[in-house]
């Protein structure tokens, strides 16, 4: 169970010096698979690691530095494309952490650019981005219509010259999800970080990370998202404000679970876990020493859960039938 060793090292980096080559290789493979190798490299700076291990960590750090540079450039390009509309894009997730210089951004892989714009300005924003060289990548009319009707974001766009993807959000959860975050409030409370860019307020950043982790998706890559939550909570000033905010977005229970799990996985382990928490924990720590998912059935269960969360039963049935006819099969 190498994800557990990875978890132990992220919590207490000094344990690295005692690792043998076999355990180390397991940690590296698990960390790569969870996209946490750069984060681990940051945590292990100045700590003795097994011989040959430092080079792997240095490579990972260089990769994440490049990722951050590219992500901020993409953010800048998006800001420039939207500036004529008087719109400042609100960066989400990795790019936001990098732009705001947050701990969660250190060593983090970023990938696609995620931005939030007010829903009533979505059409304008899309037109401006298309003008500036982004193109649609979902050729299927069903997928396109599905995104536009039910999702919290536009169908993904990709830039034709730079080959980088942008997800334009108007809220932080699919419209079909049970919790209904207050998107207007997310926009109203966002804060500028310079360069024509904004990020969510500290409280909303936590709410988004929590929503992303527990209220959307099948928890693949969840350990990294939980690390984000741990870092964001660590930089939170006003805990009571956060509770009020989560309640307002309908994410109070999710926040409580995120606190318990972050405390258990990366923290002091002061909180008791419920039975359901333990299922989440198994899913988050399923990576084995070869970088494989060691709990495939549990993964399938969470995959099914992600669909149940996303849609009411009848709609889900119709969606699955349509996707099946188009030849889509779950992996």
């Amino acid at each position: 169970m190498s994800a557990r060793t990875l978890m132990a090292l992220l919590r207490e980096p000094s344990g690295a010096s005692g690792l043998g080559a076999r355990a180390w290789n397991g940690v590296i493979s698990a960390a790569r698979a969870e996209r946490l190798l750069g984060t681990l490299a940051v945590r292990l700076e100045g700590v003795e690691v097994p011989e040959g291990g430092r080079a792997v960590l240095v490579d990972a750090l260089l990769d994440t530095e490049r990722e951050a540079r590219i992500a901020l450039w993409e953010a800048d390009r998006a800001a420039r494309a939207l500036a004529p509309l008087g719109l400042e894009p609100i960066l989400l997730k990795g790019a936001a952490y990098a732009a705001a210089g947050l701990e969660a951004g250190r060593g983090r892989m970023i990938g696609d650019l995620d931005i939030l714009v007010p829903r009533d300005r979505l059409d304008e924003a899309e037109a401006a981005l298309l003008d500036a060289g982004w193109e649609w990548v979902k050729p299927d009319p069903y997928d396109d219509a599905y995104y536009r009707q039910w999702m919290h974001e536009l169908p993904p766009l990709i830039h034709r010259e730079r080959d980088r993807m942008i997800d334009v959000h108007h809220t932080i959860l699919p419209l079909t999800a049970r919790p209904k975050p207050d998107a207007a409030e997310l926009v109203a409370e966002s804060v500028g970080v310079g360069g024509g860019l904004r990020v969510l307020s500290p409280e909303d950043r936590v709410c988004h990370a929590v929503a992303h982790l527990f209220a959307d998706g099948d928890l693949s890559g969840g350990l990294r998202n939980l690390w984000d939550v741990r870092c964001l909570l660590g930089e939170m000033g006003d805990e009571a404000a956060l509770e009020r905010r989560a309640a307002r977005h309908g994410l109070g229970a999710h926040l409580a679970r995120a606190r318990r799990l972050a405390d258990h996985v990366f923290g002091a382990r002061g909180e008791r876990l419920s039975l359901a928490d333990r299922l989440f924990l198994c899913r988050l720590l399923a990576r084995d020493g070869w970088g494989r998912d060691g709990a495939k059935l549990l993964g399938l269960a969470f995959y099914i859960r992600s669909h149940v969360l996303r849609m009411p039963p009848l709609m889900l049935a119709r969606h699955l039938w349509t996707k099946w006819r188009k030849g889509h099969r779950p992996v």
Binding site: A21, I28, S29, R32, G52, V56, D59, D63, G291, R292
Partner: protein, 287 residues
Amino acid sequence: MRHSLTLTIGPARFRIGSAWKEPIARLRALYAAYPQEEGVADFTVRLEPAGVGRRWWRPSVRIAGDHMLPDALPMALRHGLLAAEMGMNLQMALGWRRHLLIHASSVEKDGRALVMTGESGSGKSTLAALLGERGWRFMGDEFALIDLADGKVHPFPRLVSLKNASVAAMRVEVVDGARFGPLMRGTPKGDIAHLVPPAAATARMGEAAAPALLLFPRYGFARDIRPVGQGEAFMRLTQASTNYVALGEAGFETLHRFVTGVPALAVDYESGEEALELIDALWADLS
């Protein structure tokens, strides 16, 4: 995983795991001259069943590991050795950051390296293997690793991957049948057999050499030699490099130093003997 092996090739150490015994046993034998002690690996490669039950029923290998291609086709288990080689190449191509990595073969003589790059089928692999049997030190047939600090070429002498007609050609050249791996017919890349590089290649795989000549060989065209300008060489090498973009400024500096310091020629040839003769003449001209 059930079967595994640690393998050091040049500067990179691989941990290879497999659901089946055969690919690991083959690797262990063919790489007998390479360090195989366990240690901290740079990359992990997995050869795993391509689906439920595919360990036993029509066994089919998915190449997986630290770095993966999302839509890679599974391979038959009888091609497992090739799958392992492809898995290792993939890790290097997608993950290696400590040198500028160029899709090229390289050989060394008198402390200086000859680098040959070109499309698949250009003959760069076979030429390097031939030269390795004729007084040159074989450094690698797949990747030339260019040092980011001093521009030297580092060896990556994995097994030579011989395709189609070059298998027979090398069987004439190499008398020792034990140096050949099994002939794998009908792989996605044609008929393939692996060749164990000469002993000097593995014994000296830590020794870099300064590049002295860059060739763009092309097999099957009438004998011709053309100079290649620095700009063209630069552009062609960016395409032949798998990590030029990922290395950023360091990649640019290294490639710039390479093309401004190393003469480049395009060489067309119709037979291996002809190419060897051309290379000997060009090499003699250098000094």
